[in-house]
Symmetry: D3
């Protein structure tokens, strides 16, 4: 029931888990170390979790990677990022990365609206 | 009826309008100014509309943004760009941006063929 | 029957063939020369076919073009690339191109697992 | 004298000011609005100045624009970012953007060390 | 004397010619065909020379290749592009490609001002 | 004397070593693990050293990172890559990444000619 308002996020997670099982099957030592780094880099440290997730979000936005954007959007929401804060991070990404980021912003804000913020 | 030959373009526009409503709900002042710029930059000026749309098309092609490509393809068609002119713009984008642009060219030309030029 | 284990690869090829017919309809002389180059560049020469396909694969991975990745994945498999060799090429692409390549690696390895290597 | 420990930053600023005068001479209304946006987007708002500069820094790092990186490095320093915080932002940019960001990180940290942090 | 007002453009051309001799020494058949395409793609056809050079300029700007930008800036000037037209092409490139294009625009406009337009 | 024919490569290495000392001074645990990965990923494994360096070279070429290109050019030369093999790797990078890679190819081949191959 918990998930009833987040069909796209649920689908994203299930697909990602299934993919990760395949990844693990073929990954060599270097890949495993890379995935390990990917997990630890966003842990709270001198910068708090919220800031780190917003940094991951903006980096993903300007590089235009929808799956990466969605991942950090979910984590940003979990870390307590507010809509007004997200909007400012989006402003920076859009300015730096240009109008080609807009389609990604559209998809991100639609999920933020319907499956993250809308659940509160 | 008008739309009966352009199902993908119709779907694109409807989706885009729905997304834009969500965008507007969360957009801050900077985002609104950015969207405003996006609207005025392509208006005819010292360069005509056709040239400006082709510039937007080629920029979108080399940066490989399908939604942006489709948008400027539609606007180029409206502005009177001919197939032979589009082909030359595609040649430039493909040469500058490399073979990774080809999948985007395939999708663009399929829509040009079936939903834009094919309607004439 | 031959195709029964490769539905996504079959769909990719059919779509690609259909697209290429449209491409050919509008392509000018420069585009045709570009497509010609695209066909000859990967032929075995001083570097063998396997190495050339892996070069095409890694270039496509760091530029994050799913269709290009899939194409070179299929050709790498045909050329006899083993899973352990592919994994090392993936390690290099992931390291050079960063974590934004991971979603593309996920999709590539899923097809490698279910529709290429799984057929052997 | 104030500037005696920051020769590269001084040179960067002088060059930038000279360039901006030329920019202003040819800029049309759209460009002026874009430059205006560039100035206001990083002002403190719901996110503080420090966070906004780090977002600009990481976006610039993954897109690999040395001048943009240097600009936000200087502004981050002014806003009070500590070396340990910068290091975490660098970790995220490097992970997301890959090893091709390393030459840019090298140049940035050299300036951070010799002309920003070293002045304290 | 002809060259006395264009030291950077002269240096660019001399360096480019020297480099091209080395390129030719090692180039294989595929590379030579690619260089050939690069030469013919910008010739006037269904689109005039001016439009083609502006397309090459904007593609180079959003991909942030200084040498490519300079090349098409020189050719645009030769083809009769006016400052107001260039400014509109810059507006489109800057909007689509984002603020990371600004340092490239600065360098381009400085050469436009001092070594191209200033010669008229 | 050994170095008398490679001034640019010597300068590159000295600068790189100096930068790396600064990097090490500020690097946190994640960065150190990333640098470690960067060192081990190119070691001979299921793919030989030569192939791995060419993969690194082509990835760097299409992402247009001069320092990365130079590094892998030097390592490719050490690993025994011949001019004809390099030329084929260049062909692939240029085709996939487009004409914007050409300025980088020019600089790479000039160093290959004057400071690597020319030393043999």
């Amino acid at each position: 029931m918990t998930h009833s308002h987040s069909p796209r996020i649920d689908a994203f997670r299930e697909q990602r888990d299934a993919y990760n099982q395949v990844l693990a099957k073929y990954a060599n030592a270097e890949q495993k170390r890379f995935f390990g780094l990917d997990a630890t880099t966003y842990q709270a440290g001198h910068l708090d979790k919220k800031t780190k997730e917003l940094l991951g979000f903006v980096a993903s936005l300007v590089l235009r990677c929808d799956d990466c954007i969605l991942y950090h959007l979910i984590e940003s929401h979990k870390a307590g990022v507010k809509s007004e804060e997200l909007a400012e991070a989006v402003s920076i990404g859009m300015l730096v990365g240009g109008s080609i980021t807009i389609p990604h912003v559209r998809r991100a804000m639609d999920i933020w609206d319907k499956e993250l913020e809308g659940k509160n």
